[in-house]
């Protein structure tokens, strides 16, 4: 059995992962299960077919309070936060002065505060960034005493509905304080798999009770980080530090949908001039889907070349899509080669592998639309 090395942090579900014989690996400073005995392929397929439970307690949960935390946060992100109705949530981005992405996050209007979920590897950065930039305007509290789980898949609503009846009819991208067998929880209808599902936030001391109750349901299996990655890749969703980072803008990354209409017009967020120009005139490169011919996967950092062998970009995420039943990838290419259907060559171990620029997602998203 793997033991957590001293330098690695653990989540409140760590002993449960070990009991379930999770294969533990270091991830963002945490000792996390990359897979369980079921294996990545079957865990992936199970999530698409039924429901999977993911421990995402390593992610940062943050409370933002103050006189007008929405107005304060808007100085750092390009999303419409002031217009977010109570109980609704939105995907947005922390940007730098060049329009580069410092992190991607979920923001919920929780009434008397904003509730943020940020990436594990960026939570310390994000908290420091907000404390510095929002000084005197908002209080930033990292909620270290909370755990976070994701329940994802077509059966997620039926399963969670047995414990929290009102969860079954929640709108996509909405928030609900509730009780789970008497335990206070915060439920959002959101996720990172392309499937319908929830994220459930609770006190660290209650996490194992809730996880065990969910895993006891017939439809639910524990799912590791390996399948989390293949699920999000098929769904066309970005992984921070790979598909987006400080050198990529939201326009280059194809995340224009995260640039709210009012903010595009009004600006008032970092990098606005660059992003406004790219919205009008296009960005020099674009994040695109890439579909290799045949069955051979192309991994991160694979060079993307045009038909003449000239380098036009690089793969940022790539692997095998168990549901697509084919290799799938995403990466950046020069704008001239970004149209869906454009033939490209991927240089895999020194040999060109034929591929095409492809539409994303690779597997249709099945979010709950009520």
């Amino acid at each position: 059995m793997t033991e957590a090395s001293e330098s690695l942090k653990t989540t409140p579900l760590h002993s449960l992962h070990l009991e379930l014989k999770g294969k533990m690996v270091p991830f963002a400073g945490y000792d996390m299960p990359v897979q369980y005995p079921l294996g990545i392929l079957k865990e992936h397929q199970h999530t698409r077919a039924k429901a999977g439970l993911f421990d995402v307690s390593h992610m940062g949960q943050v409370r933002l309070t103050g006189e007008d935390p929405a107005a304060a946060l808007e100085s750092l992100v390009p999303g419409d936060i002031k217009g977010l109705a109570r109980g609704r949530m939105r995907y947005t981005l922390f940007l730098n002065e060049q329009g580069g992405i410092l992190d991607d996050l979920m923001v919920t209007n929780a009434g008397d505060h904003l509730f943020l979920v940020v990436n594990a590897a960026r939570k310390d950065h994000d908290v420091a960034h907000m404390r510095e930039r929002l000084k005197g305007k908002a209080e930033v509290e990292l909620l270290d005493d909370l755990a976070l789980m994701a329940l994802q898949g077509p059966e997620a609503a039926a399963v969670l509905g047995r414990f929290i009846p009102e969860a079954a009819t929640m709108k996509f991208m909405s928030y609900l304080p509730a009780t789970f067998d008497g335990i206070p929880v915060i439920v959002t209808r959101s996720g990172y798999t392309g499937e319908d599902g929830y994220e459930i936030s609770c006190d660290t001391s209650d996490a194992e009770t809730i996880a065990r109750a969910l895993l006891a349901e017939d439809e639910v299996e524990a799912i590791g980080l390996g399948a989390r990655d293949s699920l999000r890749l098929e769904a066309g969703l970005c992984l921070y530090g790979h598909d987006i980072d400080e050198t990529t803008t939201p326009v280059e990354a194809g995340l224009e949908w995260a640039l709210s209409k009012r903010r595009r017009e009004e600006g008032g967020f970092p990098g606005y001039a660059i992003i406004k120009d790219q919205l009008a005139n296009g960005a020099p490169r674009r994040r695109v889907g890439i579909q290799p011919d045949g069955r051979q996967p192309a991994r991160e950092h694979t060079d993307v070349c045009d038909a003449d062998g000239k380098k036009i970009g690089e793969v940022t995420s790539g692997g095998f899509g168990p549901t697509a039943s084919a290799p799938v990838a995403m990466g950046y290419v020069d704008r001239a080669h970004a149209a869906v259907g454009t033939p490209v060559q991927l240089m895999v171990r020194g040999k060109p592998l034929a591929a095409k620029v492809a539409a994303m997602p690779f597997v249709p998203q099945r979010y709950y639309r009520g």
Partner: protein, 124 residues
Amino acid sequence: MTIKYTKDHEWVRVEGDVGTVGVSDHAQHQLGDVVFVELPDVGRQLAQGKEAAVVESVKAASDVFAPVSGEVIEANADLENDPSLVNAGAETTGWFFKLRLSNPAELDGLMDEAAYKAFVEGQA
């Protein structure tokens, strides 16, 4: 018929001067679900310890090294259609390629089944 193992978890089963090569059952467990195998072309000369094939799981690509030197005489075409054979039968139907040994004395430096088993247990 002898079967020998390497420290990199390849096996070679020798009949006459022909060796059949694959990865060990322990290795397939470590790799997880195999989704693609890149095999050497027939006629290619392989040198002991050098790259011979690549095995890809959902998560990552791993090199497979030639346990002994020789010329590739056959690649397992079944793996092209069904790479999961590596998981189902790593040391049987999931073999990778066959080669004609150019230096059978190299086998002496490899582990037999008992020694490999002890080696794997020592790694755990």
